[in-house]
Each structure stands twice: as C-alpha cells, then as structure tokens.
C-alpha cells in the first residue's frame, strides 16, 4: 500500500534526474508492436530530417494519466508528446494537464488542402486530442472447438450463447463495452443503449445479462491477455483490440478468427502536456505536425492493423511491410467489417464511468 | 535389578564410530563402568570422548560394536527411553520455561501427578541450594546457578546414570572449583553413577574414581587418578596429565624391570623403569616428574649436569627451568626450604633421579 501511495510522487521525483536535454524529445507510448510501428512510421523519418533531435521512447502510456498528474504537481513535466486513448485525453484535458490544440493552425492539412479539422472530422473528441488511429475492441474465437459442432459465431450474441458455443470467454474487467454488448443482446435497440444505461434499471438489466455467463468468464485487464489465452486454448472466445488479434491470426498463424460484429470503435492519439517551456513546445508541435500528416498516418498501417484517423489517409493504406498482405481488409473501418459498429461514447462514459465502475466491481466481487 | 546386570552399569564392547565412512573418530572402544562410579573421559578436543558420551546418550549411533546399559544392549533404544540424565555443556536449560518448569519437565513427560512432581522439584532445588529460585527464568540466573539447575534437572527423575558433557567449561576458575566439589558431593550422597567428559586434567583428577584418557580415538590409559599420574603407561598420558620432563634416548639393554638408556644429546647412560620402551636398540622417551628431580647432589643416581635458565618464585616452591641434554624446558620444582641452597641463573649444577621415578616410554 505504501508503495502505491508513493508511486506517483516517487515517479515525479525520479524524473527530476532524467530531465530532458535540449535536443532530446521524450515520447510516451504503449510499447510492443505499437511503439515499433510508430518508430518506423514517425520517429525514424523525423530523426532523419532533424539529425539534432534524439527521440527517447517511454512506455508509460498505461499510467500516463496518473504520472502526468504527479509530474504536473511536482512542477516538472519531462514528457513532450504522449500517446493516450481518447478517454484519457478527455480526462487529461479536464484536469488541465494537456494543452488545447487548434487543428487548423497546428496540424497539417490534407494533400488536397482540406483543413485538418475537416479531415479528422468527428474524431476530434476533445480540444486537447490529436487522433492518430482508429482501433476497435472486438472478438476473436478459436476455429477448432470440437464442442461447437462446426458452427461458428456469426454475431455478438454468440458470446452470451453458452449452449451453442460452450467454453470460457475472456472479457475486459471493466463495464465499458461489456454493458453495451449485454444490452444489445438483451433486445435493446442500438440507438437506445445509453438512454437505457442512464437508468439504474438499465444498469441492472445489463449486469443481469452478463450474469448469465459470469461463471464462464475470465476477466482481463491487459490487452495481451486475451490473445495469449486464445492461443493457449484457455478461452474459446474473447474480446481485445483488433490489432492484437491480427497478430495472433496473421503473424502467429493460430487457429483464431475475427468476429467483427458490434465492434466498438475507439481512438488513440497524441496529447501535448500543458505548460511545456517554449523551446520544447515548439519541437513537440513540429513533431506532431509531421507525424499526423496524411502520408505518415497511412504509413503506420503498414506495420499494424489499425485504421488511420484521417479520411485522406484511407486510400493510401497499402500492404503489410513484412507479411506483404493487403491491410485494408484487416482494418476495422473496412466496410465488410463495419456492418455493425458502436463508437465509444466519450461524453457519457466520462460522466458515468466512476459510478458504473463501482457497481460493476461490486457485481464482480459478489 | 535383573540377573544379567552384574555390577557394571555401562559396558562398551568393541565400539567404533565414523562420521564420514573414511576415518574412525572412535577406534575400538571397550570399557566397563561400575555402578556408583564417577568415571571421567579426559582428552584433548577431537579425541573422541564426547562422541562416546553421545553414543551412550543415544544421540549418535555406534558404527560398530554394542553398548550395554544395565546389561541390556541399547543400540536400538531411542534416547528418551534410556532413562539417562544428562548435563550439557551450556546447560541447555529451556529458556521459555521457569526453573521449576524445567525441573518438572522430565517428571511431566513421565506422567507424574502434579503434587508428586512439585514435591520432587522442591527437593531437587533444595539439594542444589536454590529453593527460592523456582519462579525465575534461566536467563535471570547467574552461570553457577544455571549450572546447579542443570544438575538438578538431570537428577530430578532419579536416573541411575548421569552424563555430564564439560559442564563447568563456561564458569570462571573459582566457581568451577566450587562446583567440582558440589558435584562430587552430590555424587557421593546420591550414589548415582556419573560419566563425565572434560578436557581439563585437574578437574578430572579432583573428581573421578577412574579416568579414561582419550587420544586419537583410542583410550590411552584407564586408571585411577593417582595411578595415571604416578604410573603413566605411555608418553601421551605422561605429557597430558600433570607436568613432565622428557629426554630422548636409545635403549641399550633391558634387565627385568630396568632399562639402560643412552641419552641422545649427551651420551649419558642412565637407568629407568622399562614400562613401554621395546627392546635393545629401540628409541625411547624418558619421563620424570619435576618434583622427583634431585638437584645439587653430586652423589645422586643417574646424575647429569644442568644449567639454570630461569627461576620463578612461587612461594612454597621455586620453579627452575634448566638446560639438560637436548631439552631446555627441563623443569625442576625446588622446595622452598633451608635444605636447598639458593640457585642462580647461569649456574651449572648436577641433577639426577631415582631409577623408579624415571619411566622409559614410547616415542611420540
């Protein structure tokens, strides 16, 4: 517990030592294949253009919100650009920890001159957020389950159908997405989902639906868990980020297939911490201008199956850099995959996340 | 008492012990210990004496041979069924129990009633003159008091045999002498048999009926204290018990009990008791006690000449270190009396001895 309490402050204290030098730029991201794709698509070309700049990678995105808050309170923010999911960006913006961005002056227009605000469109979900990719939380299932008798899941409700599709499921240990899926499979119309969830009865309804499979669920808290469990045969179906499933299916060649039905779109992108000194801010903005232009976003899709956030990038998405397969069909935004989709409702969840999380955790524990 | 038990309480028969399967720490040990006897195993550390005690107590199995207790073989009897009392080197009083609880422990495990046990504990504490200390913890007692409690605990369940493993080693000199007397006294008044282990020869001489001198896994001599001192059977015993002067030489003739020896360094021809010196031509070590040297007498038998190197005044006698033959550690105890003229350092004077006082022993 003590380590918990000191964690944030200690992190802030330690970073005092590693205060960035003038030519260093600290970029925070998620690590793994995702950071690798950014390295190839953004960092390497940027450093080639600016030999005086060294980009330092920090894999702290999972704790970015807490760490940024601690740094800001300690008055020493050492990060220059931070990769976060949109919900965290909204939180950071609300807390005054991320600076506001004017897309039309700070970001590159599309090659045809369309201003950035139009090119990103609805994906600019917060004043502080620069979208980078569209990813989705969706399901993968094993294709070799004997008990299923040759049937394969066709829609999201297969997750709740333990008679036809027996076996363990892997779901994220938080209410977001799970309660939406539960309501959809409990007969709630897609457009009514959040209205229903806004009532206590609606929450009960969603949890009751989840309760029907509670004994069959193994809960995950890190994105790598479901792919691992699917590969190990620990679960037969499970939710995770589509890029993780892509790597299980196409790179590791595991007997796993995608279930795209009612995938939940979410955004990941950049924020710039509030209150950077002028020189570092200028550098960070310069990097962002470069790294979020149309070509760069399309380039990233060569290395990982997440959709570029700009409309103008979509036509430029090509083949996977190593596997040589067309990436477009693996994008969550591909029309064949996007028959039924939900977009993460940032506004609603910002208001209700804490409350619903308490109920969800209590429901889990009892 | 059973028919076969005779009057030996303990018997070791060809007992051998090895810890590593390569060397023997006890080589063919044989002994009969009489009922009521105070027997001491004496020897330098590593000589095997404690191992013998542990085999008797049951904490170490004998590698070969048989040990009998009251005529019964006990090699397969676990220690707690042997009924032998034991006093340990550091007392081994249970620190979490009071003195009274420590004493009651052997009675409790034997299922004795509380009333009987209380009475016995009380008596035992009186025996060691600590009647008011029953409620204290061992740590609150002085070393001597702990020692007495340890003795009382080993005796409280009235064993026939008590083993003591260097019990006085941790006490200072005065206390040790006091305790020697006390243990001796308890032994005499209770008539219990005691097997006592020590490396301190004066302690052994003071207390024992018999002493087994150990060296290198072998009993060098088993005898009463005065015999050990007066008539050591080999050089080790002569050296180990009391002070001893040694001179090396070659046997030229053995005539009955007397051996003629030519000293190596000076060529002097002397006579000694032929105890353990082999035959003609063998090397031998002559052993003479310092108080048996005749000094300053031109007519002494076996006369040689010695040079005074050092004089130490000790009140009742003067300790005189001399150079005699090849030895410059030749000690003579000169009584502090008018009959003896004052010696001076550097003075050359004759020394000699009566043939019966000089023993021709083995070479070490």
């Amino acid at each position: 517990m003590k380590s918990m309490l000191t964690l944030a402050t200690a992190a802030a204290a330690l970073t005092v030592v590693s205060a960035a030098q003038a030519e260093d730029m600290t970029i925070v991201s998620w690590g793994g294949a995702y950071s690798a794709s950014q390295q190839k698509a953004y960092h390497d070309p940027y450093m080639a253009m600016h030999p005086d700049v060294t980009i330092i990678n920090d894999e702290s995105s999972a704790e970015a919100v807490a760490k940024l808050r601690a740094m800001s309170e300690a008055g020493n923010v050492t990060w220059d650009v931070v990769d976060v999911v949109a919900a965290d960006a909204i939180r950071l913006c609300d807390e005054g920890l991320a600076m506001e961005i004017d897309p039309d002056t700070m970001l590159a227009p599309a090659p045809d001159g369309t201003p950035a605000s139009k090119d990103f469109g609805d994906l600019l979900v917060s004043e502080c957020f620069i979208p980078q990719i569209v990813y989705s939380t969706t399901f993968g299932y094993r294709t070799d389950v004997a008990e299923w008798g040759g049937k394969t899941p066709e829609d999201i409700c297969a997750v709740f159908d333990t008679d036809t599709f027996p076996g363990k499921r892997s779901l994220e240990k938080r209410p977001i997405n799970n309660v939406e899926w539960a309501l959809l499979c409990d007969g709630v119309a897609p457009e009514d989902v959040y209205d229903v969830l806004s009532t206590p009865e609606g929450v009960d309804k969603a949890l009751a639906k989840l309760a029907t499979i509670k004994d069959d669920v193994v809960w995950w808290s890190a994105g790598a868990e479901t792919p691992q469990r699917l590969a190990d045969g620990e679960v037969v179906i499970g939710s995770t980020y589509n890029g993780r499933l892509f790597s299980v299916i196409e790179e590791q060649k595991q007997p796993v297939a995608m279930l795209w039905d009612w995938q939940v779109f979410d955004l990941d992108g950049w924020i710039i911490p509030a209150g950077l000194p002028e020189a570092r801010l200028k550098r960070a903005l310069d990097y962002i201008y470069f790294a979020t232009d149309t070509q760069r976003l399309a380039d990233q899709a060569k290395y990982i199956s997440y959709g570029p956030a700009r409309k103008s990038s979509a036509p430029l998405v090509g083949k996977h850099a190593e596997l040589g397969i067309e990436m477009a069909p693996h994008m969550p935004t591909d029309p064949k995959n996007a028959v039924h989709t939900l977009l993460y409702n940032y506004e609603w969840w910002a208001d209700n996340r804490d409350d619903l999380d308490a109920k969800f955790q209590a429901w889990l524990a009892n | 008492m059973e028919a076969g038990a005779q009057d030996h309480i303990v018997r070791f028969e060809n007992v051998q012990k090895s810890y590593d399967g390569e060397t023997l720490v006890v080589k063919n040990f044989n002994i009969d210990i009489d009922r009521g006897e105070f027997l001491t195993m004496l020897g330098p550390s590593g000589s095997g004496k404690t191992t013998c005690l542990m085999m008797l107590a049951g904490f170490e199995p004998a590698t070969h041979g048989e040990i009998y207790l009251n005529g019964q073989p006990i090699n397969n009897v676990p220690p707690h069924k042997r009924g032998i009392g034991m006093v340990f080197q550091n007392y081994a009083l249970f620190p979490h129990m009071t003195v009274a609880e420590n004493l009651a422990f052997p009675l409790k495990v034997r299922g004795m009633s509380k009333a009987d046990s209380d009475a016995k504990v009380k008596r035992a504490l009186e025996m060691v003159r600590l009647p008011q200390f029953g409620g204290r913890r061992p740590a609150q007692l002085s070393g001597g008091q702990q020692q007495r409690v340890a003795v009382a605990r080993a005796l409280v369940f009235e064993p026939d045999l008590v083993l003591m493993d260097e019990p006085l080693g941790a006490l200072d000199k005065n206390l040790r002498e006091e305790m020697q007397f006390e243990i001796k006294h308890i032994h005499e008044s209770l008539g219990v048999s005691v097997v006592y282990v020590t490396h301190d020869q004066s302690e052994a001489l003071t207390m024992s009926n018999r002493i087994a001198v150990f060296n290198d896994g072998i009993v060098q001599q088993l005898a009463a204290p005065e015999v050990l001192y007066e008539q050591p059977e080999n050089s080790f015993v002569a050296q180990f018990i009391g002070e001893n002067n040694k001179l090396s030489g070659t046997v030229t003739a053995v005539d009955g009990e007397t051996a003629q020896v030519t000293l190596k360094s000076t060529g002097d021809k002397v006579a000694a008791l032929a105890v353990n010196c082999g035959g003609k031509g063998d090397e031998t070590l002559l052993s003479i006690r310092p108080e048996r040297i005749i000094i300053g007498d031109e007519n002494a038998p076996n006369k040689m000449s010695g040079k005074v190197v050092e004089l130490i005044y000790l009140g009742d006698h003067i300790r005189c270190r001399m150079e005699v033959g090849d030895s410059n550690e030749f000690i003579v105890k000169v009584p502090n009396s008018h009959a003896h003229a004052a010696l001076k350092v550097g003075e050359v004077t004759p020394v000699g001895w009566v043939t019966e006082d000089c023993r021709a022993l083995d070479m070490i």
Binding site: T6, E234, D351 | P106
Partner: protein, 421 residues
C-alpha cells in the same frame, strides 16, 4: 579529589563546573556525531517517504477545489435551504456565472467537474458543457440561461451535492471507503449493489491470513532443514530459497500463469496421469486459489529467512536435553523446540502479512474476480479514475487496519516476542 568529595553541593569536576554539566558536555559531542551519522537517512526518509505519504493522506480529506473554484457561489449557497425541493434562486446563479467565467478562463471548471462527478454522475459533463458556453451569456436572468444549457442546473440534487462538498475539508472520501455516504438524511450506507470496499477489505485480510498460514506451514520445515544442514549444503539450499528474489515479480507471476491455467502444466500433467478428467480440468487460477498459491510462493522467503535466523540461535542441545529427560520426538519438538521458534514465526508472519495485504500485481494477474485485493482498487483509483482522494482514504483505512492488527498481535503474542535472528 579530596576537596570535591568534601563539598556538600553537587559533585564538581576538576575545573569547578558541576559534574553533570561536565558530563553532558562531554557526551554532547558524541550525541551530535551520532545524530550526524543518521541525519542523511533521516532526511532521505522524510523527503522520499514520510512527506509524500503525509501529502497523500492529506488528500483523503482535502476538498479545497470546490471553495477555490466557486468562491462566490459557495458563499451565496450557504443561505440556500438544502431540504427545499427547489433549485436555488437567481443570486446563486449570478455568483455561479461570475465564478465560472473565471474558472473557464483558467480551465479549472472541468477539474471541478471531475471532482464532483465522483459524488454524482453527470456533473462532469455539466461543467464541461457550461464552461464552453458561459462566455456567450447575456447579463441577467442567469438561472434561465444555465438551465437552457443543461436542465440539470435545475436539479436540486446537483445543488445539494455542491453545497455538501463546499467546505475546505470533507469526510466524503473516508465514507466512500467504507461504502457509506452522507445522504439526504445524514449517514447511510450506499446501495447494496455498489458496496465493495468493506467486503474487499475483509477479503484482503482473510486471504492475507490464509497466505501467512500457508507460508508458515510450508516455510517451517524448510527453515528447519536450512538451520540444521551442514553449512555447505545449507548455503546451496539458501540460494534456492533466495532465487525468487532474483527474478522479477512479473516473470514469476507469469510463470505461475503458465503452470496453473486450465491448459497449463499442472492440469496437463494431472490429465496425462489420469487423475483429472480432460473435460473437468481444475480451476487453479483466476480465483482465490491462484492468488494464494502465487503469493505464497512469492512471499515464502520472507517467512523462511526470519525463521531460519531464529532457528539458528536455538541450540540443538535443547532438543537433546528434552530427549534425555524422557521426551519423545514429538514432545521434544512441540514443548521445547517449537516454543523457542515462535519469535521467528511472529516476525515472519508480521512481514508476510503486511506485504500480502498491500499486494496488487499478483492478485490482478492470477486472482480473477474472487482473488483480488483492496490494493487493486487503490491502484485503479490512483492510475485510472484519478480519484486520489478515495485512494488515499482507502490507504488510510488499510494502514489503520494493519495498526489495529499489530496492536492485537502485541496483546496476544507480545511484540517483544518477534525476532529477526
């Protein structure tokens, strides 16, 4: 000499100063030097440990953000009767407008919104939305304009929440940490479907006790062997005991996942030798069993080491003495050896228990839903929900729990009876 003893007053040193003063002066330098030696560590602890903890604990009651962001509103709102069923009047909204104008300028209104959202869902977006539009308001008739932005401004519960949390300090976090709140009628527990912290606290204690027990049962024989083997073997074994310390916690936990999962090594082996049916593989993780197994392994050295060092000090002659006095093996162990190792068990148990009660990574990974600890919620509130006030309050509750248990332990076993060797 003789003249100092002849005096009737205090003893004097040779130079005539009182002996006590002289002694104190002589000792002062020693004390000063001793102080200088511990000063670096002391400062280090104060700066890196006590101060941050104190700061975090302070957050569990700190609530200055509300009066700081809405100073005028809070002042005017004091006169509003919270039990009325009507939203406050125009004066409060006028003050709110003035406060929000400044807050929106300084971007603090959203932060206030997140703070109050912990108490009432929806306030976050209410403030975010209103902050965006407050600039465009025309003077006068503010109540109407605010309600036009969001009808929630007419909701009495919103105003009750603001009023209830308008002080510089609040007990709200502590109440939340024991599943309670100050409702309309004073103290009450939250709805049954939201109660979790007391339950988790209880489970944390029960599981920690279970882990401590398994560590004791498994560690005792190992410590005994370590203490009684010849040095060259015991050193080797000691390395094996310490081996877990040399691997990262995550690696060890992942290893346990590989072993314990249903398609894991243990289940595979049991199925292969026919002890377990392939269709009914044992559930060894994602539940309390997993947490107990993995944490026992991780914490075992903390039990073995103090036990070992205490056992080292227990002379083997105690057991021999007991046997020579007629005790069989069991009695000698139970009545003589064991009581002398209790201080080691005590030290090990305190260490293991306190470490266990604060663990969260291992329970998070192998504990599923039934094996997680209260620390997992603290971690969630620190890193995810950013509700540091609640996290701090939970931390205080956990800390007080440990102190209470420590006190109980002292009463039952006696803290003097704890030895690290």
């Amino acid at each position: 000499m003789s003249d100092t003893t002849a005096q009737s007053g205090p003893m004097l040193a040779a130079d005539g100063t009182p002996l006590k003063v002289s002694l104190a002066r002589a000792l002062r330098r020693q004390k000063l030097r001793a102080l200088m030696l511990i000063a670096p560590l002391f400062l280090f602890i104060v700066i890196t440990f006590l101060a941050p903890i104190g700061d975090m604990l302070f957050r569990s009651v700190e609530n200055a953000i509300v009066p700081d962001t809405l100073p005028e509103t809070v002042a005017v709102l004091a006169d509003w009767d919270a039990s009325s069923e009507e939203a406050p009047g125009e004066d409060v909204f006028t003050a709110l407008h003035a406060d929000l104008l400044i807050a929106a300028e300084e971007k603090t209104h959203t932060r206030l919104g997140s703070r109050l959202n912990y108490e009432m869902p929806g306030i976050s977006s209410l403030f975010r939305k209103s902050g965006r539009k407050v600039d465009d308001m025309t003077p006068g008739n503010y109540k109407e304009q605010f309600i036009a932005i969001d009808k929630d401004w007419g909701n009495v519960d919103v105003w009750r929440t603001i009023k209830r949390f308008s002080g510089d300090y609040t007990a709200g976090y502590f109440l939340a940490s024991i599943d309670a709140k100050i409702g309309h009628d004073g103290f009450e527990f939250v709805d049954e479907d939201q109660r979790i912290y007391l339950f988790l606290l209880w489970r944390t204690i029960v599981l920690s006790v279970a882990i401590t027990l398994t560590c004791t049962i498994l560690g005792y024989p190992v410590a005994w062997i370590l203490a009684n083997l010849p040095l060259r073997y015991s050193n080797l074994l000691m390395i094996l005991v310490l081996l877990p310390f040399w691997t990262s916690l995550l690696v060890r936990t992942s290893a346990w996942i590989v072993l314990l999962q249903q398609q894991g090594v243990i289940n595979d082996t049991l199925v292969a030798i026919g002890l377990v049916d392939d269709l009914n593989r044992l559930e060894l993780m994602h539940n309390q069993t997993g947490t107990i197994i993995a944490m026992t392994h991780i914490l075992l050295p903390f039990m073995i080491l103090p036990l070992y060092s205490v056992m080292k000090t227990v002379s083997p002659s105690y057991v021999r003495a007991a046997k020579s006095l007629g005790a069989n093996d069991w009695t000698a162990f139970w009545k003589v050896y064991f009581p002398n190792t209790v201080p080691g068990i005590g030290a090990g148990a305190v260490l293991v228990f306190i470490l266990a009660i604060g663990y969260y990574i291992t329970p998070e990974l192998v504990g599923g839903t039934s094996g997680i600890f209260i620390s997992n919620r603290i971690a969630y509130h620190i890193s995810s929900s950013l509700n540091w006030g609640l996290a701090a309050a939970l931390g205080v509750v956990l800390l007080s729990m440990i102190l209470i248990l420590y006190w109980v332990y002292d009463k039952i076993v006696g803290i003097d009876n704890v030895k690290l060797g």
